[in-house]
């Protein structure tokens, strides 16, 4: 058997190429990118595939300027190009001229329509946004158990305020049923009611990956939540309807954690301020009361009935006792200024002195307080104030 014609590989490949290029003018294909490689030459190589088949593709460097986004594995795209044969490799390939994300047009139409509808209901109004608690200790999180959100929050807490309690409601964040799961997660936290703020979100991804956060059930659950919601979806450039409905939008999951979790150190400093200010105020109040006491004690010995003085003294005793029992120990340790004040208070308390058995002796009728036995002479009348009652007497002997 003699062959009619023997082709060289180059000849045959050339003919195949001519057939292929002749049969398939420039066309559009839809598929998912995989095995994407950016060569040092600037050309990009990848495979477009669907469930059953795949096709090698090339995007020459000079054409990348037409592509407004970065190609990534897993991205669904529609590509325009020319089917050809790469002769050196002995395989057909698709020369890509233009490329766009599949379904992006439909998705953005759906997004705009839903946004318009929900906005008309007032769901995105700033007026209905709730304030985010400043210092939440219990934070509810609706996100994937393995994604960036929970990882970032755990890391940031470890650094900022370890003692905080994070409660994760794991949710499917992309694909079929994700929107309903996220919405249910938000409702679960509301049913449970024991967190102060919710973070709802996921890490970055394609528009489709983030799509659940643009769906009505999520938006409605966010709006209906009694617990304030912080939305943290994707990267800064990704704005979802969930972001618009939330009480606060964080540009990224890390940012959400930093917005919600305060630094323990900072809070500690704040507590110290409260401590110092209340102590300062207490000292000033005590000083004012002491001044009042001083003026009162100058007063009472001469003008007030003893009963009134005793009442006042009793009250001071009470206060002093209560004060010294719990707070004073602590204060005295930190500030001996207060200790001195307490001493003053005690010294000023006339009843305490009288109770211990001392008495006050006055010359009558002037009622001047006697400090020296030689201030009186035999036969002078004097008054002695005791803890209970008063005695009038006559001087008999002077030493």
């Amino acid at each position: 058997m003699t062959p009619e014609k023997i082709y060289t590989i180059t000849e045959l490949t050339g003919r195949i190429r001519a057939v292929i290029e002749g049969s398939f003018p420039a066309l559009w294909v839809v598929g998912e990118i995989s095995g994407h490689k950016l060569h040092t030459s600037g050309h990009q190589y990848f495979t477009l595939k669907d469930e059953n088949s795949q096709m090698p593709c090339v995007l020459w460097r000079g054409r990348t300027a037409n592509i407004p986004f970065q190609l990534r594995d897993g991205m669904k795209v529609v590509a325009q190009g020319q089917l050809t044969v790469f002769e050196k490799g002995g395989r057909y390939q698709f020369d890509v001229i233009a490329i766009q994300q599949a379904g992006i047009g439909e998705l953005s139409v759906a997004f705009e329509q839903l946004k318009k509808k929900l906005a008309a209901e007032g769901l995105f109004d700033t007026a209905r946004k709730r304030p985010i608690p400043q210092y939440p200790e219990r934070i509810g999180i609706v996100t994937s158990a393995t994604g960036a959100v929970i990882r970032d929050i755990v890391t940031i807490c470890r650094r900022r305020w370890r003692g905080i309690t994070l409660i994760l409601r794991p949710a499917q964040v992309q694909g079929e049923g994700a929107a309903e799961d996220i919405a249910q997660g938000i409702r679960d936290f509301n049913d449970w009611g024991q967190v102060e703020v919710l973070i709802v979100g996921r890490g970055g991804g394609s528009l489709e990956d983030l799509w659940a956060f643009n769906e009505e059930p999520v938006v409605r659950a966010v709006v209906a939540s009694k617990i304030p919601v912080v939305s943290a979806v994707g990267h800064e450039v990704d704005v979802t309807l969930c972001d618009l409905a939330a009480d606060l939008r964080a540009p990224t999951p890390s940012a959400a954690a930093e917005l919600v979790v305060k630094e323990a150190q900072e809070l500690s400093a704040r507590l110290q301020q409260f401590h110092d200010r209340s102590l300062g105020a207490m000292v000033r109040i005590l000083q004012r009361n002491r001044e009042r006491l001083v003026s009162l004690s100058n007063h009472w010995a001469f003008k007030r009935p003893i009963e009134l003085v005793r009442n006042q003294s009793q009250r001071l005793d009470d206060l002093e006792q209560r004060f010294s029992l719990s707070t004073l120990r602590y204060i005295a340790a930190r500030q001996d200024q207060l200790h001195r004040l307490e001493t003053t208070l005690t010294a000023l308390d006339p009843s305490g002195v009288l109770r211990r058995g001392y008495s006050i002796t006055r010359q009558l009728p002037e009622r001047t307080v006697l400090r020296d036995s030689h201030s009186v002479v035999k036969g002078n009348r004097i008054s002695v104030t005791l803890h209970h009652g008063e005695i009038e007497a006559e001087v008999q002997t002077i030493y």
Binding site: P133, Q134, Y135, P136, E137, G140, A145, T146, I150, R151, V154, T155, C157, R158, W161, R162, G163, I164, T165, L166, I167, L168, R169, P170, G185, D188, F189, D191, W192, E196, A264, L267, S268, R270, L271, F274, H275, R277, S278, L279, G280, A281, M282, R284, I285, L286, R288, N289, L319, R322, F323, S326, T327, Y330
Partner: protein, 77 residues
Amino acid sequence: MEQPKTFENAITRLESIVEIMEKGEIPLEEALELYREGQVLLKSCQAKLNEAEQKLKILVKDSTGQITLKDSPEPGN
């Protein structure tokens, strides 16, 4: 006065305690009472800040709709 349960409530209460005390237009007894309340709040807040254990729990809803918490293995590693 109901005892504030959260850190947030405690801080809000501390703010108003300090403000009232700084105005100083209150009787001594009342000031002491506020001071003591403030000390209690400060102590409980500080204890919360010093808490060193990191707590991550998982919210679980069973088939009857009952919501419970279970411990989580540390994530992100």
